[in-house]
Symmetry: C2
Subunit: 490 residues, 2 copies
């Protein structure tokens, strides 16, 4: 196999190889089942290292283009057609199944995926972060040593400043560095509650949180959400009935709904939880992604009783791969969180913590946000415009002022699962709404994430979904007497 | 404060500042309580960035040289004298207290610490790893994205080869990348056992494992160890009596004892556990650190029934800061481990995984081991020679063929805590043996780790400990009629 490589190109050699093999698969030069040369053969033919070929094959395999069989070799995959792939999906609409499907969907060749509420890789500040890592290396061997369980002092000091801009006054001693918000939630939840305990969470809520809380053996009870955030009036009877160990909430640009809790609701929520002494776990991961001016301060900024445990991370504002998140909590809880973290994984990598601290201190975080916020706003607007244009009447949606998600409420009787599978056959992916609820969803929903696709792809995807919705609604009209009412949009 | 900086030096500027301030504290130019210039002032005076000064102050603070008070400034610490520091130590001889003390001890200025069973930072392959990280960045934005919960395919493929050299045949699908052995143990233990369940562990055993298992609510029962490893004959009645969920063992160069389980014992252990269907968690973290030729293959290499779960990491062979470990287990367990890992922290950082894969594939891991093994052997030999020379009769010790630890058995009646506090007053630190046992230690022990100190410091420390032992033995002879017998050495 001869492949022309351009060593002066900015595109790495492995990527050039992967792109060329993809092209040949697409145009049929490499049909399904065709055997690729071995890594050793191709590296010899092209005069490059085996690692380069290996990396190219890895990427092709991750994208579903090729399949490797131990001892036999690497072959062009049989199923590169999304229509065929759909058959293997959606069998298990559990949180875990959908999380895995979403990851696979996002990587399928040609898939227009609005499934992941994630930062766009093409916006990652890769070179600046590489510089920050190089600077971190220059600080010496400590970057490869154990660091404190609580986290690198330099990063915690930096976060104190960053959180002050968010209206929070915490000291470096009140922070714990975690492996993303996911580990933060694990540590806090297992410290505040035991298996079998009841906790409250917004309904709908973040899928990963449901998975984490469920895995810890906690009984999650849903609390209603409207377009001002958690419905505090509905919360009091739930607190009285269940005496929950804590309330998990994403007040700012919630995932999946896009809702931002109003300042009045925040004050009511704090007053209520102080009255009942119920801790709040506040997940503030989307706060930096605000497209219409600064969002309200977090609950933690007005936490008089030390009842709010604050979680966030760099995963949405920058990139998720550093796996660096943080907890801000009252000192007496910090001690218990440190014990739990020490027993769980001792500490998080010093190198990445120090590099992120340098990245923020150099002003690159602020510069990055100035650069990407208009781009995300543009993507959101393209999706909103297309949804308005292509979605049939009877469908409603949120117009989020921040974050990554549009939440679509469908008329009763539409099956999100049928829609999900039909969309995948047309090369479009999204997240069906059912999975964001702890019980059955009160009506059908979809979550469309606008962040990872350019404006035109967001518009195309909305057009496809709109057509499929039209077809389903027409079919429903034939089989049902009266169209169901729309419940108020959350 | 004027400090002469050498910008052409290989030593980073922050380190030059820290060294100079340490020197002035030591010679009294900066007395206890003296206020250092603010970061802003010193950066202006020296014409360097604030981050550089900040890093210098961080290091001084971590080492106990200075203390920072929010809003007041940075001051020379009152307690830089080990004799004074001792007063605050050893109050809590729990696993957690001793772990924290050990970390603090190792960082105290002038402390000759044999307390940490850890790779020596001056041997870290910092520049090669930095190159590997740079190469990983060149593979594109994927290094900053989520990777699979199971771990980077490139690293798992690389580990398959590395484990084959260790006599193991596992596929990449049978591996899970973890945040060190600590997270590996957490995931496996919480998958195999529930709070309140009984598990067996060697007696003595790794302190961190006791902490992790205890935090999970498991009841750890000790199983005896001799100089061939776990005493298999004593294990059967324990299995019959307690029906443990698993047995945790470090068969190769055990921490703290240094013992390497003999091939015969390994075969007996496997036969016994297969008969009772008891899983084994095998911690193989020290295997690469072998000073007398290759160690026996791990238990996992002869695991016919899929009962052995294998844990290891790069923390001892390279450096601990990457926080990259791995589990090798039977496929049916892998699925459950992935669910647990997904809920706990979703995935480990792709960048560090890919960089380690590149590091190993380039041959830098093998080269590193060729370089450091003779150095560690030299440090071990210096300690052994000094112990032989300076320790009074009645004291016995292991002569480990690998790993980082000498295990010292003292005559009954010696108090390891008194010795620990007396040694710290003389500027020498070690780990008292009691903490490696689940119950009371059968006799007094010490663990001396030879890896982090140069040969001459190992010898000095052994001389100090030998003198203190002599004094304690003399005192004991005055107050006791008959000296206690030595029990056989573990």
């Amino acid at each position: 196999m001869q492949i022309g490589l351009d060593r002066s190109s900015a595109q790495p050699l492995y990527a050039q190889i992967a792109r060329e093999i993809q092209r040949r698969i697409r145009n049929g030069a490499l049909p399904p089942g065709a055997k690729l040369p071995t890594v050793r053969e191709l590296s010899r033919q092209l005069g490059i290292t085996r690692l380069t070929v290996h990396s190219a094959y890895e990427e092709l395999q991750a994208g579903g283009w090729v399949e490797a069989t131990v001892g036999r070799g690497t072959f062009v995959a049989q199923r590169t057609d999304p229509a065929q792939v759909a058959a293997g999906l959606g069998q298990e609409l559990s949180a875990r199944g959908v999380l895995s499907d979403m990851l696979r969907m996002a990587q399928l060749p040609g898939m227009r995926s609005l499934a992941m509420a994630d930062a766009a890789p093409e916006f990652y500040p890769l070179r600046e972060f590489e510089k920050a890592v190089a600077e971190a290396f220059d600080t010496g061997t400590q970057v490869l040593s154990y660091t404190s369980t609580q986290g690198e002092p330099l990063l915690r000091t930096t976060l104190v400043e960053l959180l002050r801009e968010r209206g929070m006054r915490v000291s470096a001693d009140e922070l714990v560095i975690t492996s993303g918000v996911t580990q933060g939630l694990t540590l806090v939840a297992q410290t505040l509650a035991r298996p079998g305990d009841v906790v409250l969470a917004e309904q709908p809520t973040y899928l990963g949180a449901l998975n984490t809380l469920g895995t810890l053996g906690l009984r999650v009870i849903g609390a209603p959400l409207d377009d001002h955030g958690l419905v505090v009036d509905a919360l009091e009877p739930l607190i009285q009935a269940h005496r929950p160990r804590f309330i998990y909430t994403v007040p700012t640009f919630q995932n999946p709904s896009g809702v931002c809790m109003s300042p009045a609701r925040r004050a009511e929520l704090l007053a209520l939880t102080e009255r009942y002494h119920v801790p709040i776990i506040e997940d503030d991961i989307y706060a930096a992604l605000s497209y219409e001016g600064p969002p309200p301060p977090p609950l933690k900024a007005h936490d008089n009783e030390g009842l709010v445990v604050y979680l966030s991370s760099f995963s949405k504002a920058l990139f998720p791969g550093a796996r660096v998140g943080y907890i801000a909590a009252a000192p007496q809880l910090i001690t218990r969180l440190l014990s739990a973290k020490q027993a769980m994984d001792f500490c998080s990598p010093a190198l990445l913590q120090r590099a992120l601290a340098i990245f923020v201190q150099r002003g690159w975080m602020a510069a990055h946000l100035r650069r990407v916020l208009p781009r995300y706003r543009e993507r959101r607007d393209a999706l909103l415009t297309a949804v308005t244009r292509y979605f049939p009447s009877g469908v409603r949606w949120t117009a989020p002022a921040g974050g990554f998600c549009l939440w679509i409420a469908l008329p009763a009787g539409i099956s999100p699962t049928d829609l999900y599978l039909a969309a995948i056959e047309r090369g479009v992916a999204f997240a069906p709404g059912d999975v964001f609820f702890v019980g059955p969803a009160p009506q059908p929903f979809l979550r469309l994430s606008f962040a990872t696709q350019p404006p035109d792809v967001n518009a195309e995807a909305a057009e496809v979904i709109g057509q499929l919705l039209g077809t389903q609604l027409a079919r429903r009209a034939l089989t049902r007497q009266a169209p169901a009412d729309c419940v108020p949009l959350v």
